[in-house]
Amino acid sequence: MEYGLDKRSNALKTFNTTFIIIWLLIACFPFIWTFWGSFKVRADFFSRADWWYAISAFNTLLETGGQFTSKAYSEAWTEGEFWKASRNTIIVTVFVVSISLFLGTLGAYALSRSTERYAFWILIAALIFRAMPHITLVSGYLFPFFELQIWGILPTTIVVLVAINQPFTLWLLYSFFKTVPKELDESALIDGCSYFQAFRYIIMPVMWPGVITAGLFSLMLAYNDFTVTALLLNQENHTMVPKIQSYLGTNQHEGNLMWAVSAVVSATAPLFMLVMFFQRQVISGLTTGAIKG
């Protein structure tokens, strides 16, 4: 927004720049600091004596002989079985994203092309479902899942996450399909295609921008989820986030807290990379609902 007429005074410019710098520090410094600290020993990063140790690496030098150590990483990934947790996370994420996109595109396409009244009510119901705190749903799942003996395994969690994810995916893809001109598939219908064929040959080739955005959000939900995975999976099948929490709980082991620090960095890094690549899609996804909605 560069106004030709709008002259900003220098004072305002300086103030603006300072504000942005301070905000970015607040937003990013905790992550940079954790990244830095994950290569130290516990006595440095959580120093009782002097916080400066975290920078000068006093104890890290004493214990390992170097300024930086990757001990926390190697221990967490092997001894702490973080490799298992990350494998589980990958399984859950891949399945949740693909299934919820498959269900979501079909449903949202139908919603966007329906002129009936119930389509509106379905969208409202989805909005209400979106507002449900996940923990209240989990308290509904636990008992039946115990009785059916499907508690603790990955497939159950995947299905649950897909379902929890549907309302948001539906809304997102609904507003995306609304921007795809109706005439496109209507002409195919006139030419004798069935609705499914129109979807397959006309809509599918043009829907990828919307699908990528929806996929990113499903991925973030599945990857980041704590409530569902912590309560519906057994120890063996824990994904990364509940695993991090379990490192916190067992504090008697000296290395454990550092395991948590390195696990946090390991879990966050891929997510940051992904968002860096797809920043535009994330932002467009967050705003479609708001601007057009």
Binding site: A27, P30, N224, T287
Partner: protein
Amino acid sequence: MPNKTFFWFFLPTGLAMILFIGLPIISTGIQSFYAQHDQVVKEVKKCDPFGCTVSIVVDQEATSILRDEKPLGKFNGFGTYIDRNHLAIEQISDFWKETDSFGEFINQVTNLPFYKALLFTLTYCLFVTPNVLLLGFIIALSLNAISRKIRGPLIFGTILPMIVTPLVGSLVLFWMIDAEGIIGANLQLMMEDPYLSLKSSRTLTWITIIIYGIWHHSPFAFVVFYAALQTVPQEPVEAAIIDGASRYQRIRHIVLPHIYPVVTFVALISLMDNFRVFEPIIGFSAEGSAQSLSWLIYDNLVNEEVILFGSAAATSMMTIIGIAILLAPVLIRTWKEFRTAR
């Protein structure tokens, strides 16, 4: 689209939502009327040369048979809702009779688990939501004035707090704010109080969690406001400049009215998200002084001995009612708009 085609297209997603969102809510409702079984006790007569004693022991066998027969527990009606851990009707009426001043009464009531959690949840919503809107809007305005070339990386930095999961976000902050972390240690030095720490006072804990909430949610408000700012038409703004409107007046009378619908959207979403605050309490290990409704449910569900399904379900139902109250104005408005649109 014909109804039949719509049905087949919508069936998979509809089924998923009914089975795993609709039914669980019903299941929660049913569970909330049941409570876990009491342990079956039996009297055991033990005789020795000095006489007989009767002691009461838990009949493990009978208890487990009872549990297997009726896994849901015993029917309790609204009993769970009004017990001490939930609405605590009895306790409140006692407090009302016993306490002398209103302040003391409120003090007693907010010490009951449910009201304590409700108080924290509402305080959190009340402080976080407006501040998120404000901070998000200021960041959006401010970034919007920065040269377009360097905005990309700046936006990336700004949205970082939002994309990490709340547990990780709160841990990362906690490790800095804690007494052994960089900020906590420096605060101790500055205040010259070696015992100052996050856990030392309830107020400090609440403030920390609220600050975390603002930090975590502001990027979302920022993103939406930033996108909305791009759609503000230029002509009225330029006209206002020519007419001599100050920067504040331009924002107040042109920009804000234009993005008003977006503001309500962000307020609603962040209110909904804040109402279910839960992970930061675990991240900050603040269970001692800050408990939210969601945390109460979690605590019941991870109970060591017996999972308190009934208790968790009752709290869940009341949380859902809370959400319904929050959503009601929006739903009513949508309904009215829908009616007039027809």
